[in-house]
């Protein structure tokens, strides 16, 4: 039955892709079929969260971040860039959920998340529930899975170091069952292999010097937060890399290439970045002693 449905859908989609060369058409059709088999791209039900930037959205299947699925965000250094990127995505998820007060869960490994800092990403501190000080990864996986399954949250951020294939598959199923989007955050440290096996997208984030800095008493002031965002894995999409800026007033993303700012020399090849970079000795926020 699945196959027949798949064939039918293929015919529909093939009409829209008439403009593409035949080989691309075939590949795209196969990709869509794989996506359906894997349970991704059930867009009719769960939809996507568009970034609002054509360059980014075109790299993602269905034109945005797939909702009701698990995404992985890797901060290359433990400098909070990954958390900030997650916060920006969460703010948009909360807005997407309709009400501005939809509850959000942030699952911390330790403690130290400061909710007043979330305000610039459009999140009200009162809507954010923080689960902190659950040290064991297995326990955090349990919390994350139950949070996804309960279906009442607009989004969940979970700081996880690792999850084996079974666990990550469970997370994806829970996200679909509860129709909730999960961002699995991993900051700093070494990446052991590919990360979360079933993540629909995987992002690597690091800070970039801010642009458009206002002057402050004759000195240069701090501008809008700006990140080098690499989409290293996107199921049904294509990996790409941008420099994105978060506009606090409009609560939108800006692609620095679109804005027409001076082009920033990007570091070479995102994947082998920590290997021979002088940032290797970059600071890692020490575990807080209490």
């Amino acid at each position: 039955m699945t196959q027949r449905n798949g064939l039918k859908m293929d015919q529909q989609s093939s009409q829209t892709m008439a403009a593409l060369p035949p080989r691309h058409r075939e590949i795209d059709a196969l990709r869509q079929q794989i996506g359906r088999v894997e349970g991704i791209g059930r867009s009719g039900r769960s939809g996507v969260l568009p970034f609002g930037l054509p360059m980014v959205d075109s790299a993602l299947p269905e034109g945005g971040l797939a909702l009701a699925s698990v995404h992985e965000v890797q901060g290359i250094y433990a400098d909070g860039a990954g958390a900030a990127f997650c916060a920006a995505l969460l703010g948009q998820l909360a807005r997407e959920a309709g009400t501005s007060s939809a509850p959000i869960l942030w699952l911390e490994a330790g403690e130290g998340l400061y909710l007043p800092g979330l305000a610039r990403y459009g999140l009200q501190p009162r809507q954010v529930f923080v689960v902190s000080n659950i040290r064991k990864t297995a326990d955090r996986l349990w919390v994350l899975e139950e949070a996804l399954r309960c279906g009442a949250l607009a989004g969940v951020v979970a700081e996880l170091e690792e999850a084996d294939f079974t666990a990550s598959r469970r997370l994806q199923l829970a996200a679909e069952a509860g129709n909730t989007t999960a961002l699995v955050l991993h900051e700093g440290g070494q990446y052991s292999g590919a990360g979360l096996a079933t993540a629909v997208t995987r992002w690597q984030v690091q800070t970039m010097p801010s642009m458009h800095c206002p002057l402050n008493n004759g000195l240069q002031g701090v501008g809008a937060p700006c990140w080098d965002v690499a989409l290293t894995h996107s199921r049904g999409g294509r990996p790409e890399r941008w420099t994105l800026e978060w506009q606090e007033e409009q609560q939108t993303w800006h692609n620095m290439a679109d804005v027409g700012a001076e082009t920033i020399p990007l570091p070479q090849a995102a994947n082998d970045m920590p290997a021979n970079d002088d940032h290797v000795s970059a600071p890692v926020v020490r575990k807080q002693r209490r």
Binding site: Y77, D79, G80, A81, G82, A83, A84, F85, S100, S101, A102, P103, G112, L113, Y114, L115, P116, G117, A119, R120, Q124, P125, R126, Q127, F129, V130, V131, S132, N133, I134, D139, W142, V143, E146, A147, C150, G151, A152, L153, Q206, T207, M208, P209, S210, N216, L219, Q220, G221, V222, G223, P225, C226, W227, H279, S281, A282, P283, V285, Q288, R290
Partner: protein, 556 residues
């Protein structure tokens, strides 16, 4: 005649002419004269056959507090100095008395007795060496096949615990206690319900010491030749009160039932209790789960009728061997829906060890609260949103019972400017009115009177705050420019852009030495890689002293 009698009887009539006491009440008293030593024998069985005494220090001397029968046979008595006792019994074993542990043990025993009646009071009858338990068994005895069988059942069990129970049942706790004091061990005495003067006949030969009087009154009575309760009968009350004080009349009235005496229950009886006893003890997990589910349905029905929701549930399993296992779950907000509550309980049911079997299971809601509003609303009768709120509450409850409710919190602004004190933790569901999503409405600026402080709007705040600011070596132009370079954790950061300062200060009364001077100038700085940090300089600029710089947060 200044002294007023607690009994409104100024006629001087003989004490015997008493009115009918209120009928229907029955009290059971367990008198445990050797409880203090028997408790220790239970802990240390090796001392069971030797003379043994618990001792305590009294004005620099060691004196005996309680002695076991073997020691008593050697003429050892409580109150004796240990040195004298050693002269009488050289092989006397001693342990220091622990009144707190003894009281705890008695309360434990009282809890155990709750299988007979919910109203159990542990206590020491005045003027007696041992401990007592008072049970209000009105209307309970038939469940055990009558008073005689109930008393025998209780006696047998207590003996099997290694205790020496003296048990009596009467209409009043006073009469039961008086009989228990003079009864033989393990031979319960049951006084029939009082009828006219029958109580006097039953108690005539009891010594006056069984009236629960203080020592001096008892001695005074004996010195007048009034050795038994029966001897008091022909005397007029006025004379008794004049001579021996009002306490005697009070105790006499309580004995006869003309003076009300309440048995204060050890535990407040909750109205929300469901209970199931079994003919054959159960032990399998399936049976336990099924019974829990039945009890939960019954309990939720009770809660619903009262418009209440449970905040805490306690499941008690009374096992065949006389022990009770309890497990408790808490709720973040009151609930009376069996499904999610059962999920909470089911996660803990594995902790129950039935051992030889469970004969009674009891589910109680000791804490309950009014369930505010209903979970459906008129716009959305199916309650999609409310169902989500319930689902979230169920998730919070499960999380709380696994990892503690403190692990989940929200943050609210607090009355302080210091960043680490400017937030306080809110429980997941606080007392603020909750929106339909189970989330409180925005608290920013909720109260213009300043009772609810606002978040510092428009000011940069980091995403991660270091619990303890870390000292950094910074190079900054004086007096108050942002640093141009700082060194943190062995690495040097060159500052590319900076905002600030924002001066935040401690409360004027604060003198916490950890806070330094209490005045901080915060700067948001960005290094060459775009990482943004929240740094502050402690204190005001003073010529000649190097300012202290700290890193307090990361923006990301």
């Amino acid at each position: 005649m200044v002294q007023s009698s607690p009994i409104d009887d100024r006629t001087g009539a003989p004490a015997g002419a008493d009115p009918e006491p209120p009928s229907g009440k029955r009290a059971l008293v367990v008198y445990l004269p050797l409880f203090a030593t028997e408790r220790l024998v239970r802990i240390m069985p090796e001392i069971a056959r030797q003379p043994f005494a618990s001792i305590t220090e009294d004005r620099g001397r060691l004196v005996l507090v309680a002695v076991n029968p073997q020691a008593r046979r050697l003429s050892l008595r409580p109150g004796m100095v240990l040195a004298d006792a050693r002269a009488l019994a050289p092989d006397l074993q001693t342990r220091f008395a622990n009144p707190v542990a003894e009281q705890e043990a008695l309360e434990k025993l009282a809890h155990w007795c709750m299988r007979y009646t919910p109203i159990v009071m542990p206590g020491q009858g005045e003027g007696a060496e041992g401990q007592s338990l008072f049970l209000d068994i009105s209307g309970c005895a038939h469940l055990f096949g009558g008073e005689e069988r109930m008393a025998q059942h209780l006696c047998t069990r207590l003996v099997s615990f290694g205790l020496t129970p003296h048990v009596a049942i009467a209409d009043t706790p006073g009469a039961a206690w008086a009989r228990a004091l003079v009864s033989d061990a393990d031979a319960p005495i049951i006084l029939p319900p009082f009828k006219g003067d029958s109580v006097w006949e039953h108690l005539a030969d009891c010594p006056v010491a069984s009236l629960r009087l203080d020592g001096s009154t008892t001695e005074a009575l004996i010195s007048f030749g009034l050795r038994t309760i029966g001897a008091l009968r022909p005397l007029s009350r006025r004379d008794l009160a004049d001579r021996f004080g009002a306490g005697l009349l009070l105790r006499l009235g309580q004995l006869l039932g003309v003076q009300e005496e309440a048995i204060n229950p050890l535990r407040v009886i909750t109205p929300f209790v469901a209970r199931q006893g079994f003919f054959d003890p159960i032990a399998t997990p399936e049976d336990i789960a099924a019974t829990t589910r039945q009890l939960l349905d019954a309990l939720c029905h009770l809660l619903e009728q009262a418009g209440q929701g449970a905040v805490r549930l306690v499941l008690s399993c009374h096992r065949v061997d006389g022990t009770t296992q309890r497990l408790a779950v808490g709720m973040a907000r009151p609930s009376r829906w069996p499904e999610p509550l059962f999920v909470l309980l089911a996660e803990k049911l594995g902790e129950i060890r039935p051992d030889f079997g469970i004969e009674i299971m009891e589910l109680a809601a000791p804490d309950s609260a009014v369930v505010e509003g209903d979970q459906t609303n008129w716009q959305d009768p199916v309650g999609k949103r409310s169902a989500q709120g319930e689902a979230f509450a169920a998730f919070v409850n499960r999380l709380g019972n696994r990892y503690g409710f403190a692990s989940l919190a929200r943050q609210a602004p607090a009355q302080s400017w210091l960043p680490e004190r400017a937030v306080r933790r809110l429980p997941p569901f606080d007392d603020k009115p909750l929106g339909t999503n189970g989330v409180a409405t925005n608290g920013v600026g909720a109260n213009a009177m300043g009772k609810d402080p606002r978040w510092p709007g428009g000011r940069p705040r980091p995403l991660r705050l270091l619990m303890r600011p870390e000292a950094v070596d910074a190079i900054a132009p004086v007096p108050d420019d942002p640093p141009v370079q700082f060194r943190w954790q062995g690495r040097t950061y060159r500052v590319r852009a900076a905002d600030g300062p924002e001066r935040l200060s401690d409360e004027w009364w604060g003198d916490d030495p950890d806070n330094g001077s209490g005045i901080r100038d915060y700067y948001t700085v960005e290094d060459e890689d775009g990482r943004r940090y929240w740094l502050y300089r402690d204190g005001l600029y003073k010529p000649g002293t190097a300012p202290q710089w700290f890193l307090h947060g990361l923006f990301g």
